[in-house]
């Protein structure tokens, strides 16, 4: 054990002991679960369009809210994290994964209190999505304004 680990050779040294991800199976799981979440979203969208007379464009709002509500509740019951272990990106990439990131961060820090725990840690994981989304949308928006003028 005399050999010292540096940041470089550590990655090499642990490589044989890491489980090899089964790429095909993982992708298949992600495809099916992600696809099913989107089909469920489409069902909700059609429901809001037909029953509550939302326009096609506006129906995306209540659909997202409903998916977020379901995902937050499933996170509270501990179900969504199990789904995440199974499906990987299939449950992380849909909007439900965004809600899961917010709710699980809030739950995790619940013991530190409502203000310092829940309030300040809620966006610990999901914050970067909002930050990079806003910055990139702003930059692309300015470019488009410059081009169209």
């Amino acid at each position: 054990m005399g050999k010292k680990f540096t940041a470089q050779n550590y990655k090499q040294a642990v490589k044989p002991y890491q489980p090899k991800p089964n790429l095909l199976i993982n992708c298949l799981k992600a495809f099916v679960v992600g696809g099913l979440i989107c089909v469920f979203g489409q069902l909700l969208m059609d429901f809001y369009m037909n029953v509550f007379d939302f326009s096609k464009k506006d129906a995306a709002n209540p659909t997202a809210s409903t998916l977020i509500l379901i995902s937050s509740l499933l996170t509270g019951f501990g179900v969504y994290d199990k789904l995440g272990q199974f499906a990987g990106a299939g449950s992380a990439v849909p909007i439900t994964g965004f809600a899961n990131a917010i709710t699980s961060a809030a739950l995790e820090h619940r013991s530190e209190g409502l203000v310092l725990g829940v309030g300040s840690n809620m966006f610990k994981l999901a914050g970067s999505v909002i930050v990079f989304g806003t910055v990139s949308a702003y930059i692309v928006g300015i470019i488009r304004l410059l081009i169209t003028q």
């Binding site: 849909p94 965004f98 809600a99 917010i102 829940v118 809620m122």
Partner: protein
Amino acid sequence: MIYVWAFVVGGAICVIGQLLLDIAKLTPGHVLSSFVVIGAILDGFNIYDKLIEFAGAGATVPITSFGHSLLHGAMEQASTDDHGVVGLAIGIFQLTSAGIASAILFGFLVAVFFKPKG
């Protein structure tokens, strides 16, 4: 038919995410952030709207649509009034506010009423 395309397109976007996780070894945070940026860029070229027209919820449910909606709200506001860059700031959260507001509200309520599970 829209259900088939929603399944295929939504599933395919998730597979791209899974490949980034497994092959490029990105963290989920990096994958989601990249997806939002890609969504905004695709909307900049008016491509994302066509994808939504084609795949419905298959394009609006994945997180890429968050970037698309951010830019879309900003551009709508900036092009209808004459405030230019200020219009971008006024409109940027217009379409996404329902999603962000409900994520904060439900996340908070769940944290208050549920106990964390291992």
